[in-house]
């Protein structure tokens, strides 16, 4: 093992000659004809890739494109059933076929991993300091005091205030962004030449994501560490990466410098991928206020929802004094970061959570005052679509049974022809009625959930992040379908999402939420382009932008 080569002090070209290309920086990672296979499936089908010092290379692609498998193969972390062939050279050492001892020498000191979910990447029962000291001492036999001093330096490096004090903190005492900073500090503890960042910001709120992206860029500039960034988010790519490798079904589709890729995507696949990203409006749109009629379908009158104190946890005020009206046929978007109360408002609107104060009026009638039979009748006009395609359908029901359920609840005829018509309305073949959810893809399941929601021709649909678990191209499909159906059927919708682009795309009006309060309410063309509240502005600015494409 040679000495650490990514010291902050070391910069500029080293003695090693550049392999090729315009950059004079030495190559950190060289992948040639990498193939990763599983019994009966190919995950990666011959990929070449080079990462140089101080460079951020993004691997983009949708689920199943093999991007995570490539990143894992760099550290020999492939699942036991996978077989890899080809060449992965990490700092001059061949990784494919290397034994466990050789891999251990590479892990952490040559390349280190930054995981997606900071919550699970840190040990919840140990302090941050303990984890950093252990990681440092695992790489080099240094005394505890020296490791501790280095840990403070690392926390400082990743921008955690009061690092001495934070060493004594447990992960749960840190915010999500701080946890991810600690995960990055852990990755840096072995002074690696290469950071493998697998969706490093996907689990984070958009404002926190912006900070972590800034940190990664900063680390690259200061330490010269190379980053192999695995992501599905084209906005993140545009913000951080120098070069992009677009993957599709285990093959490289396109390999370009970032500005070029966004300006002139060379392949249809990349073009579609870019077109699928819901972008925020750049210019103020003066949308003619569509006519929705005067009488509100759903009225929230100063509602508050407080989750009572429980087992030592204090009471939590999820929603505070929110007033909102949804008119027939109107889509109102609720945006906000985690903990903003957007989901709770959606649930309170259909009576799934009782409100602690205020009233929920459906067609002018207070939900809380309705008797059981009246509530049942009132709910005939309601439907929900959930986020998680895996859990939104009963695994024991066939697709047809799931769609028929609302009809059966209200003793409406559920003839096969009706099920087939509903399936066709969400652009699925009628034959899918006999399938079970396990046989469908995530996007197909969300379509089925949508068909079920539409079975009773509802007047109000509560959509809680209906597309956030989907790939961006599938999301685009589902959103387009949603638009079509809404035009055809004219239902109103409360659309909950953390994704400003998605909300902008579907909503007639949008409410921006923070800490359970509505900060701003208006047409998305106004709210997102010309925010009145500084929080909205921060939120909009934090969204990573996909640069506009040159019109061809």
């Amino acid at each position: 093992m040679s000495g650490p080569s990514a010291q902050p002090a070391v910069s500029g070209p080293s003695a090693q000659p550049a392999v090729s290309g315009p950059s004079a920086e030495p190559t950190v990672l060289e992948i040639a004809d990498l193939r990763v296979g599983f019994p009966g499936a190919v995950a990666v089908a011959g990929v070449d890739l080079t990462v140089r010092r101080g460079e951020v290379v993004a691997l983009v692609g949708e689920s199943g494109s093999g991007k995570t498998m490539i990143a894992r193969s760099v550290l020999g972390l492939l699942p036991a059933t996978a077989t890899a062939t080809g060449s992965v050279e990490l700092a001059g050492t061949q990784v494919v076929g290397a034994d466990e001892a050789a891999l251990e020498a590479l892990r952490g000191s040559r390349a280190a991993m930054v995981f997606q979910e900071p919550q699970t990447a840190l040990n919840p029962v140990r302090t941050v300091g303990w984890q950093l000291v252990e990681a440092l001492r695992a790489h080099r036999p240094i005394p505890r005091s020296a490791a501790r001093a280095r840990a403070v330096e690392l926390l400082e490096l990743v921008g955690i205030p009061e690092p001495e004090r934070r060493l004594r903190s447990y992960p749960h005492q840190l915010s999500g962004g701080q946890k991810q900073r600690v995960v990055i500090a852990l990755a840096l503890s072995g002074e690696p030449d290469l950071l493998l960042a697998d969706e490093p910001t996907t689990a984070l709120d958009v404002t926190v994501q912006a900070q972590i992206l800034t940190l990664l860029r900063d680390l690259r500039d200061r330490l010269g560490v190379a980053v192999l960034l695995v992501t599905h988010n084209m906005g993140v790519v545009a913000e951080l990466a120098d070069r992009v490798v677009v993957l599709h079904r285990g093959r490289v589709v396109e390999r370009r410098a970032v500005p070029e890729l966004f300006a002139r995507p060379a392949t249809d696949y990349t073009r579609d991928l870019l077109a699928s990203v819901p972008a925020l409006p750049e210019q103020r749109r003066d949308a003619p206020d569509p006519e929705f009629g005067e009488d509100a379908l759903l009225t929230l009158e100063a509602i508050s929802v407080v989750y009572p104190a429980k087992r030592g946890r204090p009471a939590f005020r999820a929603v505070h004094d929110v007033s909102l009206a949804v008119r027939p046929g109107e889509v109102v978007g609720l945006v906000g970061e985690s903990g903003s109360g957007k989901t709770t408002i959606g649930r309170a609107a259909v009576g799934l959570v009782p409100v602690t104060a205020g009233r929920v009026l459906l067609d002018g009638r207070d939900l809380a005052s309705l008797g059981r039979a009246e509530l049942r009748a009132a709910r005939r006009g309601l439907a929900v679509v959930h986020q998680d395609p895996a859990a939104s359908l009963d695994p024991r029901f066939t697709v047809g049974e799931s769609i028929a359920e609302p009809l059966l609840v209200h003793r409406a005829p559920a003839a096969p022809a009706r099920i087939a018509a509903l399936l066709e309305s969400v652009r699925l073949p009628a034959a899918y009625a006999a399938r079970r959810p396990g046989e469908l893809s995530g996007g197909q399941r969300q379509r089925v959930a949508l068909a079920r929601a539409l079975a009773l021709a509802p007047r109000l649909v509560i959509a809680d992040e209906p597309t956030s678990a989907l790939d961006v191209s599938v999301q685009a499909d589902v959103l387009a379908l949603f638009d079509d159906l809404r035009r055809e059927l004219g239902f109103a919708c409360l659309f909950v999402s953390h994704d400003l682009g998605v909300v902008d795309r579907v909503s007639d009006r949008v409410a921006v939420l923070r800490d359970g309060e509505v900060l701003e309410l208006g047409a998305p063309g106004e709210v997102f382009v010309d925010p009145r509240h500084e929080y909205t502005r921060a939120l909009v600015d934090a969204v990573p932008r996909v640069p506009a494409r040159a019109t061809s």
Partner: protein, 299 residues
């Protein structure tokens, strides 16, 4: 943006690969496949053989179970008496065969009854906080007694006999199935698909019947097999210590109990009923394991 539908990226359901053939088979089919090979088959065979022997006891047994055969006192196994005779000149094989019948009678009534009552109690307890507290504390109370202690206590109150054995087994199974169903209800109730049904107006009973019960049937099936094996053991043990089926009626436990002091004269008197108990307990356990493994694979 509707153009997206036509892009090559868009999911095209009409041309999506047909996955119907590799789909998950219907739950019922899975139950039988689990019992068609390996552990499941072995278990089913063991249980099946004992079951048939019990059902066909009047045909298979050469003597009535209570008949005292002149001149055959504690004879070891021979051609006429495959398991020999006991101290009052009765044919042990015939008694074992009829003992199986008594055992099966308890099994097929007490265990399903306990499962049914327990399942119902579990579902009811999931409906409201008040019923939950009551049901859970009753379950705790029942579980606090080891089954045999419960048996001894009940026998002291209502007297020994077949009914007492059944009652003990039923009582022992109620909390087991109650907890199982309550857990399933609490878990399934939080699922988005239940919420989706609730929002369109489905009531609590609808959710229990359509979502909770079907999701609990498989674990309950596994538990049923485990419970049956426990019940075989409980019946044997209660009859062994003399608070189960009363002499002179044959039962596996009481034959073993009687044999203890006669082992040098006729060891088969203990081995015969023991083999049956082992076959039943092992068979039910193997079936339970096979069903559970089948669930994991399918899950």
């Amino acid at each position: 943006m509707t153009l997206v539908e036509e892009t090559p990226l868009a999911a095209q359901p009409a041309t999506a690969p047909d996955v119907r053939d590799v789909g998950v088979p219907a739950p019922r089919a899975r139950w039988f496949t689990a019992l068609r090979h390996g552990r499941g088959l072995a278990g089913a065979l063991l249980v099946g053989v004992v079951l048939l022997a019990g059902l066909a006891a009047p045909l298979l047994a050469k003597y009535p179970p209570l008949e005292q055969i002149p001149g055959a006192n504690l004879v070891p196994p021979d051609a006429a008496h495959w398991l020999g005779t006991d101290e009052v000149n009765r044919d042990v094989l015939s008694r074992v065969l009829f003992g199986i019948r008594a055992d099966l009678l308890v099994l097929v009534t007490a265990v399903p009854l306990g499962a049914l009552v327990g399942a119902l109690a579990g579902l009811l307890s999931s409906l409201s906080a008040a019923t939950d507290v009551v049901a859970q504390r009753v379950f705790d109370l029942l579980l606090a007694f080891p089954v045999l202690i419960l048996g001894i206590a009940l026998a002291a109150v209502v007297g020994p006999g077949l009914t007492t054995v059944g009652l003990v087994i039923t009582l022992a199974e109620i909390p087991v199935f109650g907890r199982l169903l309550r857990g399933a209800a609490l878990r399934v109730r939080e699922m988005p698909y239940v919420e989706a049904a609730t929002v369109v107006g489905a009531g609590r009973w609808w959710v229990l019947r359509r979502h909770v019960l079907p999701n609990a049937v498989e674990p309950a099936g596994v538990q049923l097999a485990v419970s049956l094996s426990v019940a075989v053991f409980v019946e044997g043990a209660m009859s062994f210590i003399g608070i189960g089926i009363r002499p002179p009626d044959p039962s596996l436990g009481s034959i073993i109990a009687d044999s203890v002091s006669k082992l040098d004269a006729n060891p088969a008197m203990a081995l015969g009923p023991l083999a049956v108990v082992v076959a039943l307990v092992l068979g039910f356990l193997l079936v339970a394991q096979a069903l559970a493994a089948g669930r994991r694979v399918a899950g």
